[in-house]
């Protein structure tokens, strides 16, 4: 329509104000879609804190509790699993692999986890991403340790550095395994999962540093020299939990039932994906609150446009009268202002998306490295298109206010020009 060309030229004429309005809408759109995308990525990333593991098995307890201590290293297990039960489970025909883990010690606030090298082979996070070494290799020697990225960065460890493990979660002097220091053999890449906050050692090492201990304290006179331990049988009696991979996903429920009904001792098996989404739902309120805040920022951006358009109307009454004199109908005047609101809103959405993609491209490497958050550069998805559509609709509704006012004014003014 003829009037849209006029709307465009009018905006170009007031480009400083128009650009500011577009920019404020663009920023709010960037925030809105960014928050939406981030929360989806965070949810996906959280749901994939552990992936590729079909079952997690621990002593009888609640599913979320088992998940919290085995994957997030939060809280403590109520009980352990006997080594014999673990061996029995590993022999199950439907079980492809098992990774035993043993928790209980810590190093300067970071949990120490005993496991086998199978852990580095089978642990998956994100979309089937394996653990990768930033430096060094999996533990080989009895006193080797592999550090999560965060541990190494925060504590400033490099390959070959020595560290002393403390008994329990609290790091106090008299419970340190001072006589058996570990050597940093490997440092993992950041994953954005609790792996980053973990010190990994072998199961045998966990066993070794506790030889001669009883009831959480070293027994005087029973200290065993670190080197002599190398010759001893260090097979543990108990472990904390087991990560289980199955030959087929279909077998998950069958094996879960087998574990839950295990006759020798009370055990619990959970499907990590199910437990993770249960846990995430506990946090859904905060996530939604964030989106609501972002939506309000969009409203603020649009109110800015409303203000700019309304403020310009009075000085544009002369322009309206001129348009009326050449035959424009009041509807044309409405369309002119509406067109300007439309151009401002749509440009704002376009620029906002461009800003978002620019930001994602610029920040994704940093986000992946430091937060382990892998943000894919994809076209706006269904949910985002709905959001953008809602912003456009809101823009048109807001634009209708000054447009209607201009319509009323031009009807009242006719050809008489008031300033």
């Amino acid at each position: 329509m003829a009037v849209l060309g006029l709307a465009w030229k009018s905006l170009v004429n007031r480009r400083a104000t128009a650009a500011l309005t577009v920019f404020s809408i663009a920023l709010s759109v960037t925030l809105l879609v960014g928050v939406d995308r981030l929360r989806h990525e965070a949810r996906a990333s959280f749901a994939n804190t552990i992936s590729g593991t079909d079952l997690i098995v621990g002593a009888r307890s609640g599913g979320i509790q088992l998940l919290l201590y085995s994957v997030f290293r939060i809280g403590s297990p109520t009980n352990n699993i006997a080594w014999a039960s673990y061996r029995d489970l590993a022999e199950h025909p439907r079980v492809a692999w098992t990774v035993p883990i043993s928790l209980g010690d810590s190093h300067r606030g970071y949990r120490v986890m005993g496991t086998t090298t199978a852990y580095f082979q089978h642990y998956r996070y994100g979309r089937d991403r394996a653990l990768a070494f930033a430096a060094g290799d999996p533990f080989d020697d009895l006193y080797d340790a592999v550090l999560g990225a965060q541990v190494a960065r925060q504590l400033g460890y490099r390959l070959g550095d020595e560290l002393v493990v403390a008994h329990g979660a609290a790091d106090v002097d008299f419970t340190r395994h001072e006589d058996k220091p570990f050597r940093v053999a490997g440092i993992l890449e950041a994953t954005g999962t609790p792996v980053d906050h973990t010190v990994h050692v072998s199961l045998q090492a966990i066993e070794a540093i506790h030889v001669g201990w009883q009831g959480g304290a070293p027994m005087p006179g029973f200290e065993v020299p670190a080197e002599r331990l190398r010759t001893m049988d260090l097979t543990p009696d108990e472990i904390t939990a087991v990560l289980v991979g199955l030959t087929s996903r279909m077998a998950a429920f069958q094996v879960q039932r087998h574990v839950n009904d295990y006759p020798a001792e009370p055990l619990t098996a959970i499907l990590p994906g199910v437990a993770l989404s249960e846990l995430w739902n506990l946090m859904a309120v905060a996530e939604n609150a964030l989106l609501v805040v972002a939506a309000f920022v969009v409203v603020v951006g649009l109110v800015g446009m409303l203000t700019a358009l309304l403020a310009s109307l009075n000085e544009r009454r002369r322009e309206m009268a001129i348009l009326r004199s050449v035959g424009a109908r009041p509807v044309h005047v409405f369309a002119l202002i509406m067109g300007e609101a439309g151009v401002l809103t749509l440009s704002g959405i376009g620029l906002g998306l461009a800003l978002l993609y620019g930001l994602v491209l610029a920040a994704r490497a940093v986000m992946a490295q430091h937060l382990g958050l892998h943000i894919a550069v994809t076209a706006p998805g269904g949910g985002e298109l709905v959001l953008l559509g809602a912003v456009a609709m809101a823009g048109f509704v807001v634009g209708a206010i000054p447009a209607y006012r201009a319509y009323r004014l031009s009807l009242a003014d006719g050809l008489s020009i008031r300033v």
Partner: protein, 252 residues
């Protein structure tokens, strides 16, 4: 020229008048006093009419009625053999777009349009005037430039400058070119020279006369300035024929 009066809804028989007003009594609101009362006003095709009147004599009211922005509830307003007071609002807007060129007292131009875009503006709202412009020139822009040249506004330097940088006299000539664009039958000018000084006033009018003659447009020129009277073929003193003025000085 008050020949052949007829029944409502039909043009007065054999009347070639561009404007024919009969028995008009206009008030803004039904309870307001009458501000414009005309027994009869006829303007013939091709005429260049000067309507003189002091402020308050009902000039603006008359122009609003002729342009179809205001509607008479009492009496008849015929323009180009169409009865405006019987038309709907949209039809009157279309009618104005197609048939009427309008020049304001001042500030005629839309600041964000170029000089040429200002002149071609009526063609955005009327296909009729677009076609008529294209009959004279190969393109709308060429027609705009032709009109501007006739009004001594073809300096290339003007084209690049924003229209707000033009002098008042230059702006009025661009406004005249816009009013003439697409050869509307009726040109209405509402004190277009009041912001100009004496010499420029007369030269502007002569240009306007020439262009109206060339395009066959009828000119209705409204002003309070009696010194211009001699340049026109015919003068009407609005205060003299407006029956409402004696009782009330409102309107204007």
């Amino acid at each position: 020229m008050s020949d052949g009066t007829t029944a409502n809804g039909q043009a007065p028989a054999g009347d070639a008048a561009v404007i024919h007003i009969r028995d008009l009594a206009f008030r803004w609101q039904p309870r307001d006093p009458v501000v414009l009362a005309l027994d009869e006003l006829v303007v013939e095709r091709g005429e260049q009419l000067f309507i003189e009147g002091p402020s308050g004599s009902g000039k603006s009211t008359l122009l609003g009625l002729l342009a179809g922005v205001s509607v008479a509830r009492q009496g008849e307003v015929w323009v180009l053999e169409q009865r405006l007071d019987a038309m709907g609002a949209a039809a009157r807007d279309h009618f104005r777009a197609h048939h009427i060129g309008y020049i304001f007292q001042m500030f005629n131009l839309i600041p964000y349009l170029s000089m040429v875009d200002n002149v071609t503006l009526p063609c955005r709202f009327s296909t009729r005037r677009r076609q008529q412009a294209l009959q004279r020139s190969p393109s709308l822009e060429a027609e705009a430039l032709r009109l501007l040249r006739h009004l001594d506004m073809d300096e290339p330097a003007f084209h690049r400058r924003p229209v707000t940088a033009l002098s008042v006299g230059q702006q009025q000539r661009v406004a005249a070119a816009r009013a003439l664009m697409g050869s509307p039958e009726l040109l209405i000018a509402d004190e277009p020279t009041s912001a100009l000084d004496g010499d420029r006033r007369e030269s502007f009018l002569r240009l306007l006369f020439d262009e109206c003659r060339a395009s066959g447009s009828t000119l209705v020129f409204v002003s309070h300035d009696r010194s211009l009277e001699g340049l026109f073929q015919r003068t009407i003193r609005l205060a003299g024929i407006n029956g409402a003025v004696t009782t009330s000085a409102a309107g204007g």
